[in-house]
Amino acid sequence: MPTQRQHHWVALSTLLTREIRRFIRIWPQTLLPPAITMTLYFVIFGNLIGQRIGEMSGFAYIEYIAPGIIMMAVINNAYANVASSFFSAKFQNHIEELLIAPIPNHLILAGYVMGGVARGLLVGIIVTIVALFFTKLHVQHLFITLSMVILSAVLFSLGGFINAIYGKSFDQIAIIPTFILTPLTYLGGIFYSIDLLPEFWQQASLFNPILYMVNAFRYGILGVSDIPVGLAFGVIMLFIVGLASFALYLLNRGTGLRH
């Protein structure tokens, strides 16, 4: 006799399977572009410009930026997956399939977030393989590297979910990544150490959550970071708890979903 827990497990795994099937089915839109874009980053910033920059924090420039580029691909794809999938479900009204089913809201949220994490990690693996054509990556702290990449994907999946809940058009889904996510990413220490910045901008950078993710991830791979790793984990966990609570509140309230 199946229990409620077993029902929930089946429902969650069904939702996750559907999410994974979706981004694999449309791989030319989801998996191929990051591979091409990140190859260009490595060729232009790493090889061509990087050779003139020399070393940063004791590492060849291409080696220094590789973790940040991988992390950028992970968070962009985790965000985009949940935002586009959940918004499409709203747009085509097939979100109703989930809303009428006996699935608690926290499982709906978990299913979409896990889908975003799955795409983020898969893209992360693809970009890591691309990076290995250009530089060497010797992982210094495996646990920190893996936990940071997963937590970052979770955080940005939650962000994508909230964006999709509020989104009323595809334009609104594109606004946040274009005007908020991309600037934060580029200013998040992917291409430079914040030690290079004037004091004011160093302090201002500390308000950018992506800085913590990139540095903690870089610490996992290279063993160097501008930010204490413990602080980075704390900040990211705080963001995850805050965004997850807010997303769940919106789901329970039916914002953007129920009239």
Binding site: P2, I103, R258
Partner: protein, 357 residues
């Protein structure tokens, strides 16, 4: 196009009665419904009064953000095994009622119980008994037909190894087997309707709600859908139907509620409602054009064409009298039909009354 459902595919009325008996004697906290896939654990047991009802709505109100009052404290009960029609003009509150029952619309106040389970406090149990065929197509156009069904089964806790045979069976029954690997957007309108029915039935719901299922469907498909729905109702599934085709409601449904301007203006059984009709208007086609003036005792008659008559007959009058009269005057009738569907006439009079108020 539709095959007959086999008796094992749905819950029987006998099983439903067993459930009522179960609740009457059990005080434990484990709930085991007769359906294979709706076993959940709860600490709240439904009352015996409510368990006898497939659906019970009490004082349900809904005011939308734009200030429109869609439901004004309606009460509605649907018995187990019923085939129930919910009728009303556009904007009357039908879809809002269904939206609230299926958790797609939030209510302002009131209570909804499904097979005795309160939608607010026993949400998962209440939802597990419901199947919805919505008015608008609402599946992922890029997903394949069979995948849609198996995914929906999974949402109701049916693992793929159980959902797949159930999906195969429904695809055969609803004439969609050949299209099982087709993306849903490539289906015809009629096939999309059938897919929505298959999806709503994938978890063996005890209460199936259809919101205008035959809108835009050709006559042949509509008739076969009627047969299909009658079959699953005969096998124990309670059905609530909203429709604009009043003939559909008259043919299929045993009980009826008419909703207008957010209020239930009529809630009775179909037979009693139709009995209230005190007159009917018939159109008669004659073999030859009328040349002389026609007179019929106590019957209102109007000539609407050279060889077509419109006759109003009161409830107490016999059609035999009409034909005797016509025969005596040498008039031959070649065909006869109701001017309007009987339910349509009543529906209009009831809705007009609320407008007058």
């Amino acid at each position: 196009m539709f095959c007959r459902l086999k008796p094992d595919s749905v819950i029987t009325t006998h099983q439903l009665n067993e459930e009522a008996t179960f609740y009457a004697h059990k005080t434990t906290v484990t709930y085991q419904s007769p359906s294979k896939h709706d076993t959940l654990t709860t600490s709240a047991l439904p009352t015996i009064t409510n368990i006898l009802k497939a659906l019970s709505i009490q004082q349900l109100s809904k005011v939308y953000d734009n200030g429109i009052k869609a439901l004004d404290g309606i009460d509605l009960d649907v018995e187990q095994g019923d085939f129930f029609a919910l009728l009303g003009p556009n904007g009357a509150g039908k879809s809002t009622t269904i939206g609230v029952i299926t958790s797609l619309i939030t209510k302002n106040s009131g209570q909804v119980t499904v097979f005795g389970h309160d939608l607010d406090t026993e949400t998962e149990l209440a939802k597990s008994h419901l199947g919805l065929v919505p008015q608008e197509f609402n599946f992922n156009g890029f997903e394949q037909v069979k995948a849609i069904l198996i995914t929906q089964a999974g949402y109701y806790g049916m693992p793929a190894h159980e959902g797949e045979p159930r999906a195969d069976k429904l695809l055969h029954q609803l004439g969609l087997w050949e299209k099982r690997d087709t993306p849903s957007r490539a289906l015809s309108g009629g096939m999309k309707r059938r897919l929505m029915i298959a999806r709503a039935l994938i978890h063996n719901p005890k209460l199936l709600i259809l919101d205008e299922p035959t809108a835009g469907v050709d006559i042949e498909l509509r008739r076969s859908m009627w047969g299909f729905l009658q079959d699953i109702n005969d096998q124990g599934t309670t059905i609530i139907l909203t429709t604009h085709y009043l003939e559909e409601a008259e043919n299929l449904c045993r009980n009826i509620a008419i909703i207008d301007q957010g209020n239930i203006v009529e809630n009775t059984d179909m037979k009693s409602l139709l009995n209230r009709l005190d007159k009917e208007v018939f159109i008669l086609d004659l073999a030859e054009p009328l040349t002389t003036e026609l007179k019929l005792d106590n019957m209102h008659i109007a000539k609407i064409g050279s060889s077509t008559l419109e006759v109003e007959i009161k409830k107490e009058q016999a059609l035999n009298d009409l034909f005797t009269n016509l025969s005596e005057q040498g008039i031959t009738v070649t065909s006869m039909k109701n001017k309007a569907n009987r339910l349509e006439a009543l529906f209009l009079s009831l809705v007009e009354k609320t407008v007058d108020k």
